[in-house]
């Protein structure tokens, strides 16, 4: 019988909300502007708050948390070492993360200027998206993330990702997934005709791949250091 509960190492990605103003009205206004641009994206998004300014207002965090809930975001913690902020966090029921820790945190989710850094980026880093053909001589590298290609990868082109790779088109070039050594990385290809496939350093050349998979929609993964194919129906 399985244990009623068990604690697993955390592998979740969180978005960080960097706050660079101590004026709650200014912050909420900028946040409202940002979330209104992509409400569906922000709905239910887990958020860790990081304060880049010193907060005087003892209600600041409570007001911010309440506002985030109103916007249907899910604030779950604060990244801080400041005593006053930790106190406010405890009071607001938020977890406290040490800023020195860099657990699986997605790239900063900044609310729009002027509250946060000038070149605020409003989306967290998810898979890298490429639209259109990847052409001979071109190389696409998705560091620390998945790669989605909406288009074909032509002969002589290379696509490389630390994570999974999806190709919605014909795959005719060279393909590398899990290139940082991730043996669990998988490849999904709509029309397979690659020159080479490689997962975490284990590769197959075109000549070594059964012809039955050519032109098919396939999933490719590793089983004990062997590259395996499965036709997707």
């Amino acid at each position: 019988m399985p244990q009623p509960v068990s604690l697993k190492g955390s592998v979740l990605s969180l978005s960080i909300l960097k706050v660079a103003s101590a004026d709650i009205d200014q912050v909420t206004q900028a946040l409202a502007d940002t979330t209104s641009k992509a409400p569906a994206f922000f709905k239910g998004l887990p958020i860790v708050i990081e304060l880049d300014v010193t907060i005087e207002d003892p209600m600041f965090l409570a007001l911010l948390v309440e506002f985030l809930h109103q916007q249907e975001l899910v604030p779950i913690g604060v990244r801080t070492q400041e005593k006053g902020v930790i106190e406010q966090a405890n009071y607001a029921g938020l977890a406290v993360f040490d800023p020195k820790d860099k657990p699986h945190v997605d790239k900063a989710l900044d609310s729009a200027a002027p509250v946060v850094d000038a070149e605020a980026k409003s989306l967290p880093q998810t898979a890298m998206m490429v639209r259109g053909a990847v052409r001979s001589g071109q190389q696409i590298v998705a560091k620390d993330r998945d790669l989605v290609i909406k288009g074909s990868v032509n002969p002589g082109a290379e696509i490389i990702a630390d994570g999974h790779v999806h190709v919605y088109g014909a795959m005719r070039g060279k393909l590398f997934a899990g290139s940082n050594g991730n043996v669990n990385a998988r490849i999904f290809v709509q029309k397979f005709d690659a020159e080479l496939v490689c997962i975490a350093g284990f590769f197959l050349l075109a000549d070594d791949i059964a012809p039955a998979y050519r032109g098919q929609a396939v999933e490719i993964y590793l089983v004990d250091e062997n590259v395996r194919f499965e036709i997707l129906s």
Partner: protein, 269 residues
């Protein structure tokens, strides 16, 4: 507003200059003011195909280097009004062109009221070809139905998307495909790639297919863009290409083998 069009291919000898000459003449014949520039410094032959080699006094390099004005160097075509040729130099080396110089020439042509500025690129993917495509708003990719030509066209498309000025500004260069020296019999025999395969691989809109034809060589020997050789397949193909380039809808032609029927042969009908 002037449109700058580069005619490029990567691979050499596929029909860039032939296409530049015919598209330029075709656009001019339809009343547009056209300048066609030969970027193939050291190997000039656009002026030969256009039949104006004897009238080249100053060339593109002279203008880029400030040794002549555009007005002095532009050669007015004798057969087609509104058509002007800027020839390449035969005596200079490839490095004679500079980006600033080319930009100045293109800006001046725009200011002179040209509707189309056609840039006939040299072969390859190096500096000369990159300079020819750098200022382009649109590109005509010339490809033959064979693997190495298609591969090179794919590479030049990648360079257009990465290294043109439009790419640097985050804007797209509009791409068109011309598939030339197409031989339907050899395609049927599996000796050449079929039109569909080329278009699918390059994923660029097809402007048209030009059949392999003796008339092309004859026209260039005669110093006439083949589009002006009335009644030939190549002329018809290039006229279609010009029409589609200007936004007209035309069904594709010259894709199938013309089977000469035995009956006709025997009975001379």
């Amino acid at each position: 507003m002037a449109r700058v069009i580069v005619v490029t291919s990567g691979k050499g000898g596929v029909g860039k200059t032939t296409t530049s000459a015919s598209v330029s003449a075709g656009l001019a014949a339809r009343g547009h003011k056209v300048a066609v520039i030969d970027f193939d410094v050291g190997l000039r032959n656009l002026d030969l195909i256009m039949g104006c080699e004897r009238r080249v006094v100053y060339d593109f390099v002279n203008v880029v280097q400030g040794e002549a004005t555009i007005k002095q160097a532009l050669i007015k075509d004798k057969k087609t009004p509104n058509l002007y040729v800027l020839a390449a130099s035969q005596t200079r080396d490839k490095d004679a062109l500079t980006q600033e110089g080319v930009e100045r020439v293109i800006d001046e042509l725009k200011a002179d009221g040209f509707d189309f500025i056609i840039c006939d690129s040299p072969a390859g993917i190096e500096k000369g070809a990159q300079l020819a495509l750098y200022f382009a708003d649109e590109a005509i990719i010339v490809t033959n139905p064979e693997v190495s030509s298609v591969r090179d066209s794919d590479r030049i498309l990648g360079i257009l998307q990465a290294k043109s000025r439009r790419a640097e500004l985050g804007e797209a260069v509009k791409e068109h495909l011309v598939l030339t020296r197409y031989n339907p019999a050899r395609v049927e025999a599996g000796e050449m790639l079929a039109m569909n395969d080329v278009v699918e691989l390059l994923s660029v809109d097809l402007l048209g297919v030009v059949p392999e034809s003796q008339d092309v060589l004859q026209a260039s020997n005669a110093g006439t863009p083949v589009i002006l050789q009335e009644g030939t397949d190549a002329s018809e193909a290039y006229k279609d290409i010009v029409a589609r380039f200007l936004g007209e809808e035309k069904p594709q032609r010259f894709l199938t083998v013309e089977h000469k029927s035995l009956f006709r042969k025997l009975f001379g009908k």
